[in-house]
């Protein structure tokens, strides 16, 4: 079972795929609640350290920052729900942004074709990833890693080392503007969040995805097209990365090489912290979204306190390890209670 062994590789040797344990689920649904608690705690702490932190205006700005990672994390969540992983986000995002600025040449008139082109990049890459994982049985780690390298080359060659074109005014307004007190990006992210959660919980595709992630054999024996589901998940991931690239370029005013690197690992952490099992099949986007906010808040609080990048990294890594132990503790007490 190639797919199982990849899940095992990604997951270490904790659980054999296809044999879910009941206690595990308790830690999964508790995770978002715990995270909300931590988010609130961070807001309070942040406000103590820098009065005005908790002001709605500031929080709105922070949410706007988080939105970009949040959108990338949608794709990562979907992929990890199938028991896989997407390490190609960084350069898919960058490549899409480069294409966007180049095709639009900074003109509003060029926005739609540029958007279409950029999203097409994401979709194409995602579909290839999905096909390789589902049909060719290539390990997701290796495939998406390789694709990241390939897209880096593609992006470099395409741009010849220097991003061309510019960001259409309309896109700048969209990503930096606001409707009333709420930044447009936040509204966009909120809409996307609702959409994803709806799809996962209420649609046939969502059920199929969760089935394939939890137990591919049961899904297959129930007539679900596993290949189709996996390809769709990776395609969606590519699409999200491309969209995030376009939006982030809009926000920054330009596309720049390496702009995607900061998103890959935090999104993986966010998915796991948010309660999605790394084996797949359990979890959802709600937890991920909260985790993204948590990560953004944590990073910001640390920056405000002038904590050096080095210590910031140590704190970040430490938080993940503590979270692992904490979720394990929840899992064990949940199991002994049931």
């Amino acid at each position: 079972m190639r797919h199982d062994s990849d899940a095992a590789t990604i997951a270490g040797r904790s659980e054999p795929a296809g044999r879910p344990r009941l206690g595990h689920h308790l830690s999964q649904s508790a995770a978002p609640i715990v995270l909300v608690g931590f988010v609130l705690a961070l807001v309070v702490v942040g406000n103590l350290m820098a009065p005005g932190f908790a002001a709605p205006g500031n929080l709105a700005q922070l949410l706007k920052l988080a939105a970009f990672m949040g959108i990338v994390a949608i794709g990562q969540t979907l992929v990890m729900l199938t028991g896989g992983i997407d390490l190609s986000l960084a350069w898919v995002l960058t490549a899409a942004a480069l294409v966007f600025t180049d095709v639009s040449q900074g003109q509003n008139a060029g926005l739609l074709p540029a958007l279409a082109a950029a999203l097409a990049v994401g979709v194409a890459v995602g579909a290839i990833n999905g096909f390789a994982v589902a049909k060719l049985r290539i390990s997701p780690i290796v495939m998406t890693l390789a694709m990241n390298n390939i897209m880096q080359g593609v992006a470099l060659v395409y741009s010849d080392g220097t991003p061309r074109g510019g960001v259409p005014e309309a896109m700048r307004t969209l990503t930096t503007g606001a409707i009333g007190p709420l930044p447009t990006m936040v509204l966009l992210w909120a809409a996307a969040t609702i959409l994803v959660m709806l799809v996962l919980r209420c649609t046939r595709a969502g059920r199929a995805l969760l089935a394939v992630g939890e137990n591919p054999r049961v899904a297959w024996l129930s007539g679900i097209g596993n290949t189709r589901v996996i390809i769709l998940a990776y395609t969606a991931s590519g699409l999200c990365a491309a969209l995030a690239g376009v939006l982030f370029a809009g926000f920054s005013g330009q596309a720049f090489l390496g702009m995607g690197d900061q998103f890959v690992l935090p999104t993986i952490v966010a998915v796991v912290l948010g309660g999605t099992s790394i084996l797949g099949g359990r979890g959802g986007y709600g937890g991920t979204a909260i985790a993204v906010i948590f990560i953004t808040l944590l990073t910001t609080v640390l920056i405000i306190e002038n904590i050096s990048p080095g210590i910031r990294n140590i704190v970040f890594g430490g938080v993940v390890i503590v979270a692992l132990f904490f979720y394990r503790f929840l899992q064990n007490s949940g199991r002994s209670a049931s």
């Binding site: 879910p20 209420c202 049961v218 007539g223």
Partner: protein, 501 residues
Amino acid sequence: MLVLRDIDKRYGATHAVKSVSLDARPGTVLGLAGENGAGKSTLLKMLSGVERPDRGTITLEGRPIAMASTTDALDHGIASVFQELTLIPTLRVDQNLFLANAPTTALGRIDRRALARRAEELLTRYGLAIRPDAEIERLPLGERQQLEIVRAVERNPRVLLLDEATSALSAREVAWLHALTERLRGLGTITLFISHRWDEVVTFCDRVAVMRNGELVGEAATADLPEDEAIRLMTGESFATAFPHRPAHRAEPALVATGLRSRALHGVGLTVRKGEILGLGGLVGQGQRPLLEALFGAHALEAGEIRVGDHVPVHRLDPRRAIRQGVAYVPQERKSEGLLLDKSIAVNMTLAILGRLTSLLGIVDRRRESAVVDPAMKRLAVKARSPQVKIGTLSGGNQQKVLLQKWLFTEPGVLLLNDVTRGVDIGTKLEIYQIVADIARQGVGVVWYSTDALELVGLAHRVLVMLDGRINAELVDTEITTEAIVRAAIVKEGADAAALH
């Protein structure tokens, strides 16, 4: 001397081993015989440290022993060979044989030549013509099993447990094993031997202990136990179960399979008619599961053809297509093959019919779902607070009912059941019998593999008994008795053709 006194074991509602007491003298081979579910494997698991008895004592050479793991059993001198192999496929023969303590040179490297030599010496001592540098995954199954046996015997065990250790062996390799057990007898080792082939039991064993329904019902020297008597002991007086009335069936075929060939199936064909309940019998592991899976497109076939109803016959089926053609398959392992334990009852029940419940944009219509799930839960008397409860929290019997309903929803023309009443309480069993009888009455062709011969006797119109990947016997109507099923399960047709007809 190995002494078992009042060994008892329950698995939830199932009383697998009921106060079994047994003696085995040194230098003898004791066979354990019985039907599926008789308790042989469970007894052996308790002796090998895989399981612990709830009650009772095991005494070896006068000392009582308690084992919490397979390592404990090994420490006490009890070595076992099961059907599951414990060789590392990526390594070589010599590496496997001496994994924990491979010989090393002064520099700390493994001395490859010494290793090969030791392996060579070992293999020669046991009369095996296997190369020490052969890669395990490239060896035929029979040779791998021989290596497993050699590994166990090399430990100089006081007790050797062979659970279906001959399943993958060729005739020549079986003879090799026999010579080995004879040698062990001379050394004073106690050997316990389980095989589904009665002729092997007769050849290998001095004495045979027959189990039925968890109890020891007879123990005698093999010379004093004729085959008929053994079979009678194995099947015994059956309790009357209230089986529903067998509905009449039609003549048109619901499914015709011909010439199915694969690693596990050696030329199997069958026809199941509309409304007919076709039973599949035989001891576990004779090809029943691959056969059912093949009919559903979940087992790769090298050759063969399957025609479902009026559809075009196909060589390559897969579950999606099978479902579209109206075939439904209820798998054996409900926890790992049948249900998504983390999802709700409703999600599980509707997993195969999602297409029917979705409105535009693929959204699942919750109302339509309830309209279908709620009555089903009531009809089947599934005990749960609501359909949204996670199915992992339900009892085995209730889980099984949900699983069955999931497939009934697909309105199949052919229903394949893989041991659906295993691990289910008697009350639920009766309910399931009724469900299956009803569904047959509606004209669905049912193929039912059961490890409980009584069920086949009670419900099936016809029974095919499998042995070694082939259909060994076909029993029709009054021919279906537990004796006939058990005999066909352990005695190869042809050798006893006259006695059968």
